[in-house]
Symmetry: C2
Amino acid sequence: MNLTDQVLARVEAESAESQRRWMEWLRIPSVSAQPAHAADIRAAAEWAADQLREIGFTAEVCETGGHPCVVGHHPGPQTSAAKLPRLLYYGHYDVQPAEPLELWSHPPFEPTVVEGPHGPRVYARGAVDDKGQCAMWLSAFRAWHAETGSLPCPVTVLLEGEEEVSSVHLKPFVAAHHEALAADVVVISDTGMWDIATPAITASLRGIVYMQVNLQAANRDLHSGSYGGSALNPINALTTALGALKDASGRVQIPGFYEGVREVPAEKAQQWAALGFDESAFLGQVGLTTPAGEAGRPALERLWARPTADINGIWGGYQGPGSKTVIAAEAGAKVSFRLVPGQDPQKIVAGFKAFMAAHVPSDAKLSFEEFGAGTGLEISTESPTVQAACAALRAEYGREPVLMGAGGSIPVVETLIDELGVEPLLIGFGLSDDQVHSPDEKFEVRCFHQGTRSHARLLGLLGKV
Amino acid sequence: MNLTDQVLARVEAESAESQRRWMEWLRIPSVSAQPAHAADIRAAAEWAADQLREIGFTAEVCETGGHPCVVGHHPGPQTSAAKLPRLLYYGHYDVQPAEPLELWSHPPFEPTVVEGPHGPRVYARGAVDDKGQCAMWLSAFRAWHAETGSLPCPVTVLLEGEEEVSSVHLKPFVAAHHEALAADVVVISDTGMWDIATPAITASLRGIVYMQVNLQAANRDLHSGSYGGSALNPINALTTALGALKDASGRVQIPGFYEGVREVPAEKAQQWAALGFDESAFLGQVGLTTPAGEAGRPALERLWARPTADINGIWGGYQGPGSKTVIAAEAGAKVSFRLVPGQDPQKIVAGFKAFMAAHVPSDAKLSFEEFGAGTGLEISTESPTVQAACAALRAEYGREPVLMGAGGSIPVVETLIDELGVEPLLIGFGLSDDQVHSPDEKFEVRCFHQGTRSHARLLGLLGKV
């Protein structure tokens, strides 16, 4: 029996105890958005620091100016023949508010085990997001520590208490703690599996450019009877310009928009096709029947690997009941573009500005606001880290992990990459029906257990033991 | 000296007294929108009824359910060889609120005579709209009564107290008083001249179709990262459809939209061209530089005799500060069409619905609301009434009156035509700089005086005396 097998046996033996600890953490209502829960937030942080200290970490609850971060460090094995990667495990111990409480089948902070189609599951706020996901790697650390007295690699832990409130203090905190957080790889468990039998690594994230455009026409609202036919209507102008953003096939019409966009490699495309994603069911859940987006491309490609242009908001003129015969003085819209790796956000910003200028009459004075511009992220599947993660998941599940894309961006990932220069590894065990952020959030015990085992395997592979 | 000349001499002699009466009325702050002025409203109505009784009218202040109407009747000459037209004079004694008071150079309800470029002018709320315009025909009646003991025609007066608050009770009031208000012609003085030396008759009004369109897409707001590229965005769909409402030349693209639209007759077009309307100045006042509307057509044609399509309001998604990465569940807009005589409002309603259905994807569930549909109005310049009015104005001003169009509709006109079957005559003496509805409303004494004389002349011509 090799060392990893011993550790996996320990995970089995400690399974009930692992679940008990996970549920203990879930009982602390660490809702970051609600000031009444400030003491609970701190208690959840202290709980995690205590856990880390029990298994050989030095750990501190650190002030950030907002809710605290937990930072723990374990030096790893005292001697090792190999040069070991320094691992940073990022997670968050805060949770979304549980309201509306009346929609929960079980009290959100009294974790309840219920038998489901895949065996037992635990209902609680934070069951999966992100306490459940963090509890898995904490259990994996504990099993390694119990069997070997150490961990296979040097490990730093960063647990945040403000992820559900936009991580407002994370960036300055990380910037101020470069040394304490120094690492080669950041392991983040806050994503999902393909399905309960099929593990996944999230290997690409779309970036985003988010802008507001304002059109100013006349210096005051005008009467549409007196001025209609002579004065520029900024809402007509705005719809004309934004209506031209895409052609009938859904292709974005900003010149240069697709510059740098790469086609999905054949191997990945084949893997995605083999997943048999049911877009009709995906859309049917939200009351839609017909795919939008670029015509002629597979759904997962449109969702994960193609850029978009969505108008997120629009306004102008009279929005009340009944009628008002006004030609508004101004109108505006929020427009965002999901970007894929290869696209330059600044070129997209400039391209959108130029597109609008070319599509509105000269009397429409344009102004823009920018709310963030980030590149898409592609994680090289050639890297030894990703290869190790694939091997760990393959061993655990007996099948190849899916290299998924994520349609959105994960700002925390960008922060950690930018500040620490770490390589990201996004390996998570949630399912799409886990009701994250909603009433009746749950996590499958089977996912928790196999996730813990996968993390234990990964540590062994990265530590080359 | 014929009878009309005698009456005009009387107008001259009584000029100071006419102005005194006009200003007496202006001192009563009959603001219909403000409940605190209810007693003033009634006082202004009683004032008018008293005026009418002094000159041989039977007159009553009549309840309407809101602010009262004044109805007066004068039988006209006891004997006449000719069949005389029965005239209905409509006007309103209520005024707009005067606020913001600090922007007035003179107290709004203490009429103040100030010397201006055209001689004396009177500053007061209601100076022109509409007490000043009504005071002119009241003075003309008084002069005829003083000289002849009667009026040249049977005259009914209808003075409303709710014109500035959408005439909410007018239609049912008129419907309930068909007999008392029976007439052949309704004379309305609530419009303007071309300029201080050039009288005008308003000979056409645009109609309107006003609709709201709602698009429902998904059954809830979606995350633009998770769904962007697959789910229909109703704001994109709305802008695409509405952006196609007009082509690059400003021509409305709804099939059949221009059905029934007639070209402006050459004679009228020449008259309008001769007016030398300065569209740059017109637009410059509101901060615009470039005409919108149909390319290649003269400004007055676009404003008076061509239909329009204006988006009066639009909304959807996130309108707050910053960014929200949402694909909205729904979006909507208010869209109105100014119509010209010949267009069928119901066909425009149907055409817009069909246009939207053809331009949005099937997942966008459309619904519509209608807020009124009225035809454009064209007053035949061949009618003896209009001919008489032209003759009266020609005699007074020594030049041909302009047959103006009005870009908007005047709902009162429609009400009176529909309910009473009267022929409308829109003859007014306001100037474009009279600041109607704004601080420093004024009326030129020269306009008041020549307007009174024009009304006196018109009565003589219609009475064939």
